[in-house]
């Protein structure tokens, strides 16, 4: 018997729970993998106006992980709509556009523009990019419940598209921020973005990133990300999307058992471009072998036993 692999994120229906994460996927991968087998593609975060990004080096490898400090390099909303969007296939794979900004008005303007484009299935609000300073303010939007609430609220009012709020793990209690974005009207909450981190070359005494600090991703962060998904799942009613170090279908199943309705694959795509496609097939097989009729039955189905 074939498992029903579809999942629902608010009004957004996905053919399967596997997405590729923002900043780690682009149309270039169409040459290497069957993009149509993915549940969704999340595009690299864009801002209203273009940004130059951080000086090199922008990436550095660490034990079972990597640091990045890209600095949200992008050419802005207009260029994205004109030149990038057409490169993605329109079909059963949902296209989710990730946005960020310095001001509420920027988020609103972007959401309004994207609302008009049929190809866009949902908006992911990047509240958590650790690499860009928010004007004079220190820290990130997603480290501040009130600021997160305000942004999501503003975007909610300006689009009918399903909204995913992406959170930073660099907080004391991520579930509180999740509750705030749920109240603000997010359709789903996504955890996590990268962990603030750094590395130093002891011979040159220089930081391994041009920006000195950056964000850690990859298998090194998986157990921490998993626990955050679990914490959020226990506090909100909207779907949770899990991300952080997912390398194979076993990792993906772990996230779903801890409460993720869908998952995102980031760094693993660099290691093996086919990872997300293999995970989609792998979860299907896992469900079939375990008599799971609908993949959504896995969500939160962790067996804690009698406590």
């Amino acid at each position: 018997m074939k498992t029903d692999m579809t999942v629902k994120i608010g009004t957004l229906k996905l053919k399967n729970p596997v997405m590729v994460a923002s900043g780690t996927f682009g149309a270039e991968y169409r040459k290497l993998i069957d993009v149509g087998s993915l549940g969704a593609i999340v595009t690299k975060t864009i801002t209203l106006k273009g940004r130059a990004g951080n000086p090199p080096p922008r990436v550095a490898e660490t034990s079972s992980g990597m640091l990045n400090s890209i600095g949200l390099e992008n050419r802005g909303l207009d260029d994205f709509i004109r030149n990038k969007l057409p490169l993605f296939p329109s079909g059963k794979t949902a296209l989710i556009v990730s946005i960020a900004g310095d001001k509420e008005t920027e988020f609103i303007q972007m959401a309004e523009e994207l609302n008009k484009i049929k190809k866009v299935a949902a908006i992911e609000i990047n509240l958590s990019c650790p690499n860009v300073k928010h004007g004079a303010r220190e820290g990130l939007v997603a480290q501040d419940e009130e600021a997160s609430y305000n942004i999501v609220r503003a975007v909610r009012a300006s689009t009918k598209l399903p909204l995913v709020a992406k959170l930073t793990p660099n907080v004391t209690d991520i579930a509180r921020v999740a509750v705030a974005v749920e109240k603000a009207g997010a359709d789903a909450v996504l955890a996590v973005n990268t962990f603030a981190a750094m590395a130093v070359d002891i011979d040159t005494k220089k930081p391994k990133l041009g920006n000195v600090t950056g964000g850690l991703s990859g298998p090194a962060i998986k157990p921490i990300a998993l626990k955050m998904v679990w914490d959020i799942y226990n506090k909100v009613d909207i779907p949770v999307i899990g991300a952080g170090g997912i390398m194979n279908y076993c990792d993906a199943a772990e996230f779903m058992l801890c409460g993720a309705s869908a998952i995102q694959v980031g760094t693993a795509t660099f290691v093996n471009p086919n990872t997300a496609c293999e995970i989609a097939a792998g979860i299907g097989k896992y469900c079939a072998e375990n008599g799971v009729k609908k993949v959504s039955e896995l969500v939160g189905n962790i067996n804690i036993g009698a406590l």
Partner: protein, 266 residues
């Protein structure tokens, strides 16, 4: 560009930490151009995690060869691989060298393991009957690679070592300067690969003598295919977001070969 699982045919020791690995990969043999590279996965483990980039060193019958220097954990793992084992690689990646039209003289400058892509270029130029002068520079005698291979391509070869243990003592750029100062016919193009300092010096000399120059650059990479924006190099032209006279291009996708005049050298 394809992801390929290719059988290792040989993995030979060239001495002093340099090795040459040959793999069976008809697709790459057919499609790779000089200056392009491949992204190689060191192991199936998560540590080291990322793929490693290597320039295509040579195209053989039904395959390619890579020349690599053992500098860290990834290259150490690759060095231990045996013929018959399977390598996971993606390629060919990036843009290649733009070949000269006609049959003028080309000067090829290679520093250290920078000979890797330069030999492939030399072999292709030889087929096009382009006259070549190859300048190889290294720290000492043991860092001078592929001299015989270049000679087999019919190239004139000049060697420089910093300690004078082979060829001229000094830097490869000294020879380049002398060559261009000669009153003979100007070369049509300079092609260079090696340490950034060397490339910058080569670019300066090329500018002084008004000879077109292409350099193959290196930067740390994650995806290798232009997706992550992780491998920027400062260039003078482009989308103009910085307002500072430079902006970024990606070494993996827009390069690794650039016109030296395009680079915003620092």
């Amino acid at each position: 560009m394809k992801q390929i699982y290719a059988k290792i045919l040989k993995n030979e020791n060239l001495g002093n930490g340099f090795r040459r690995i040959g793999i069976a990969a008809p697709y790459l043999a057919k499609n790779a151009k000089p200056g392009q590279f491949v992204e190689l996965r060191c192991s199936g483990e998560t540590d080291p995690l990322l793929r490693r980039p290597f320039g295509v060193h040579r195209v053989t019958k039904g395959g390619i060869e890579l020349l690599y220097e053992i500098v860290g954990r990834g290259t150490e793992i690759i060095a231990r691989k045996k013929p018959g084992e399977i390598l996971d690689l993606i390629g060919p990646l990036g843009t290649g060298f733009v070949l000269p039209s006609g049959k003028p003289t080309a000067i090829l400058v290679a520093g250290g393991n920078g000979v890797a892509p330069i030999l492939f270029l030399s072999e292709v130029l030889a087929k096009k009957k382009v006259k070549q002068h190859v300048l190889i520079g290294g720290r000492s005698k043991s860092h001078i690679l592929c001299e015989k291979d270049f000679k087999r391509c019919g190239a004139r070869v000049s060697v420089t070592t910093e300690d004078g243990s082979k060829g001229h003592k000094g830097l490869v750029t000294h020879i380049l300067k002398e060559l261009l100062a000669d009153n003979g016919p100007k070369p049509a193009a300079i092609y260079a690969c090696g340490p950034t300092g060397m490339l910058k010096a080569v670019a300066n000399i090329a500018r002084t003598h008004r000879v077109s120059c292409q350099v193959s650059l290196e930067e740390k990479m994650a995806c290798g295919v232009g997706v992550c924006l992780g491998c920027p190099v400062k260039v003078k032209r482009g989308h103009g977001l910085c307002g500072t006279g430079y902006e970024y291009k990606m070494v993996c996708k827009d390069g690794p070969v650039f016109d030296s005049e395009e680079i915003y050298w620092e």
